[in-house]
């Protein structure tokens, strides 16, 4: 349909056309500046502008601002429009202000005065404009000025429904700015009773407010629980003709249902057995409906229906008290895991993470391990794959840790760079938590370094060294494995660090084998020396001095390295110092000085290597 301006602001339409016809950014800026100059002169001009013209120019300014250009005038004219008794002028004035005025603008007092006037107007449309403006700006000053009036408007029997709705959300906005405006006591039960209002629009708006109030003070608003449950019950059992305008594509009041389910998640399961029974029935009904054939093929129907379903499952998980419901919820999500629609698979993976943490449903979740692993491998959308990773992490326990860690390592080989760091952490945590065989743990961490070395933080490799030091049973294995890893052509620097430390401590355990004799170990490490950063080289030097103690037969070779110019005269102070000191130590020759305890104990933490 062609763009037609029914309200006559033809000048605006022409201006917008001009902008669209500009062939370049420069042309656009030129046209805008021309218009700004025109408007400036009109605002400053001798002839006072009438409301219509003011409205037109203020609207043009708004358009220019929304294009991305700064506007530094026009605010006064916009504020003037507020006091017009023409609705369209008021409306533009309020829009300009909502978009452009910041809370500390000097015109705020005038604006607040206009709002006050409109708030007490007989015309509900004007009242709503005022409420909308307050909700849009929601500054502290507004909260202080209107904080006592809005609640009155909200609960008064004389307020019409349409205004009540706006008042509820306006009050919510102010409450978010200044929580003290609704004191406990006098307003509580009246606000809670809005849940029983005849008009579903009012209830929908009010439940948002109540949810926020409950989050601040759940005890005070406890009365909402039974009201929420009965309201929910009435909606869920309604046929699709009952709620008329509030039925959305054959789903009765989905937004309200969702909000009520959300509201109930602020509390533990209801104490009153009657209320509790009713709630359980509701949840069962919602789960049952999910199994019925859909009333419409439209995606809007399934989205609304499933939205309520997901929220119901969230509540079931939160209550964590009905094993039957938890298992049913889990099965429903399991069905969604293989749904055609990507959105549903995404949400199912997300919801299942929560189910995995509940002891009642943890086992049920594990049954879906294979499906989740398949998702990890085959989903095209990286955000869905991420949810699969999160779920595997959540469902991991002693029985499936090896498999899951294996799958995650596989995935890591080709994973997006944006998610590698998080994945590395997750794998490291799982490996440590569920290791029964520490050789497995060592393998996993070394694999991590090999696959995603750049994303292995210091904490991770400090940890593997700490564990190896504290577990005799794994020291020989660790030495052998790092030795082999070092032989790979492209060896990550973090691997060199780990290897240097471990061989320095436990290289003797593999020195008996000719293939990993002291000299071979030393050469292998030293072959990486010049490729490494200064910090790593410092670590290597410490390993060398440990070698002097472990393997006196290669002392001379090591001393040569320590003596070399690139070390003794290194521009890196740390390297210079270490080479010098270690060289001196080695020349003193007493075995006491180079006692392993003395050297390692003095700097046991890998960071100080």
């Amino acid at each position: 349909m062609p763009a037609v301006r029914g309200d006559g602001m033809r000048g605006l339409a022409v201006f917008i056309s001009d902008i669209r016809n500009c062939k370049s950014k420069e042309a656009e800026i030129k046209r805008i500046n021309k218009e700004l100059a025109n408007i400036r002169s009109k605002f400053r001009g001798d002839r006072t502008l009438d409301g219509y013209q003011k409205k037109k120019y203020v609207c043009k300014l708004l358009f220019i601002f929304l294009l991305g250009h700064d506007i530094d005038f026009g605010h006064m004219e916009a504020v003037n429009l507020l006091s017009s008794n023409k609705y369209s002028e008021k409306q533009i004035g309020y829009l300009f202000i909502s978009v452009l005025i910041s809370a500390n603008n000097e015109l705020m007092k005038l604006i607040i005065q206009s709002i006050k006037n409109d708030l007490s107007s007989r015309n509900p449309i004007h009242v709503n404009l005022a409420l909308q403006c307050i909700a849009n700006i929601g500054s502290r000053e507004m909260a202080e000025t209107f904080g006592s009036e809005i609640p009155k408007l909200l609960v008064s029997g004389e307020t019409i429904d349409v205004v009540k709705q706006s008042a509820a959300l306006c009050l919510l906005r102010l409450f978010r700015t200044l929580p003290d405006i609704i004191p406990s006591g006098e307003w509580t039960s009246r606000i809670v009773h809005l849940l029983n209002d005849q008009h579903l629009g009012v209830v929908t708006a009010a439940v948002n407010l109540i949810d926020a109030l409950v989050k601040k003070n759940s005890d005070e608003y406890k009365g909402c629980i039974s009201l929420a449950v009965s309201r929910l019950s009435r909606i869920v059992t309604a046929s699709y003709t009952d709620l008329q305008d509030y039925t959305y594509y054959f789903v009765p009041a989905p937004w309200l249902s969702m909000k009520l389910l959300r509201l109930l998640q602020n509390y533990p399961p209801p104490e009153d057995p009657g209320v509790r029974g009713r709630l359980t029935e509701c949840l069962e009904t919602i789960l049952n409906k999910a199994q019925e054939p859909p009333k419409s093929k439209k995606v809007q129907h399934s989205n609304a229906k499933n939205a309520v379903l997901f929220e119901a499952i969230s509540l079931i998980i939160h209550m964590d008290s009905e094993p039957n419901l938890l298992v049913r919820g889990c099965n429903q999500l399991g069905q969604f895991l293989q749904h055609r629609e990507t959105n549903l698979r995404y949400l199912a993976l997300e919801s299942m993470c929560l189910l995995a943490t509940s002891e009642f449903s943890h086992e049920a979740v594990k049954k879906h391990q294979e499906t989740v692993v398949t998702a990890l491998k085959t989903e095209r959308d990286v955000s869905v794959r991420q949810r699969a990773v999160d779920l595997l992490y959540a469902m991991c326990d002693k029985t499936n840790a090896e498999e899951i860690v294996g799958e995650m390592l596989n995935y890591l080989e080709t994973a997006d760079y944006s998610i590698r760091e998080e994945m590395v952490m997750k794998v490291a945590i799982l490996a440590e938590k569920y290791a029964s065989d520490y050789t497995w743990y060592v393998d996993v961490i070394l694999n991590l370094i090999r696959i995603a070395g750049d994303y292995v933080s210091d904490e991770v490799w400090y940890r593997v060294i700490q564990i190896v030091i504290n577990r005799e049973d794994v020291q020989g294995y660790a030495a052998k494995t790092v030795f082999e890893a070092l032989q790979a052509p492209a060896c990550h620097e973090n691997m060199v660090k780990v290897a240097a430390y471990i061989l320095g401590e436990f290289g003797n355990l593999i020195a008996g084998d000719q293939r990993s004799s002291p000299f071979v170990q030393f050469n292998l490490l030293h072959s990486k020396y010049h490729l490494c950063a200064a910090q790593t080289r410092a670590l290597l030097l410490t390993t060398y001095v440990k070698f002097i103690n472990l393997f006196p037969e290669i002392r001379a070779d090591i001393q040569n390295i320590l003596k070399s110019d690139s070390n003794i005269r290194s521009s890196e102070v740390e390297l210079q110092q270490r080479s010098m000191e270690y060289l001196q130590l080695s020349q003193i020759a007493s075995t006491d000085v180079l006692d392993p305890a003395a050297v390692s104990g003095a700097a046991l933490h890998p960071a100080r290597q």
């Binding site: 929304l66 709705q165 919510l172 629009g201």
Partner: protein
């Protein structure tokens, strides 16, 4: 609650921006730029939801326009998609088969309609009929006002 809603074209031109939290202008521009780039880079069959910074983003494309909402972590994604759909339905009913041009030339109307649907970042009225009634009432007030400059604009002033 909704933190903001953006409407933008496939070329990345912003057609509407409604913010429900206060940010300095510079930050708004940065967020807008970065998010638009992220969304435009996504392929057609991908999920309608994504995590972006510490927000959840829900978006859907209708013809040449992307409708994009940022919501809090505990908000319901599927119903946010339906908020978008409801908004599109309202625009469609109001303009009669709405297209991008309608929103460009009648941008202020798009904001007025949105303000009847959402307030303070929460959905205000879920009945399509009631929202349209409210908009119609506004329009009626407008028509009753004599457009004074109307004659001037058309060279008859």
């Amino acid at each position: 609650m909704l933190q903001f809603m953006l409407l933008f074209s496939r070329q990345g031109k912003l057609r509407l921006q409604k913010w429900y939290v206060a940010h300095p202008d510079k930050q708004k521009k940065k967020i807008t730029r970065e998010l638009i780039t992220t969304i435009l880079a996504r392929k057609p069959k991908m999920c309608s939801f994504l995590e972006w910074k510490d927000l959840k983003i829900v978006y859907k494309r209708y013809a040449s326009l992307y409708f994009c909402c940022a919501i809090d972590q505990d908000d319901n994604e599927l119903l946010t998609l339906e908020i978008i759909h409801r908004y599109v339905e309202l625009l469609d009913k109001y303009f009669g088969s709405v297209c991008e041009l309608d929103i460009i030339f009648n941008f202020e109307k798009a904001y007025f309609i949105l303000d009847e649907l959402l307030l303070g970042g929460e959905i205000q009225e879920t009945s399509k009929k009631n929202v349209l009634k409210a908009i119609a009432a506004q329009d009626l007030l407008q028509e009753e006002e004599t457009p004074q400059g109307f004659f001037e604009d058309h060279g008859l002033g």
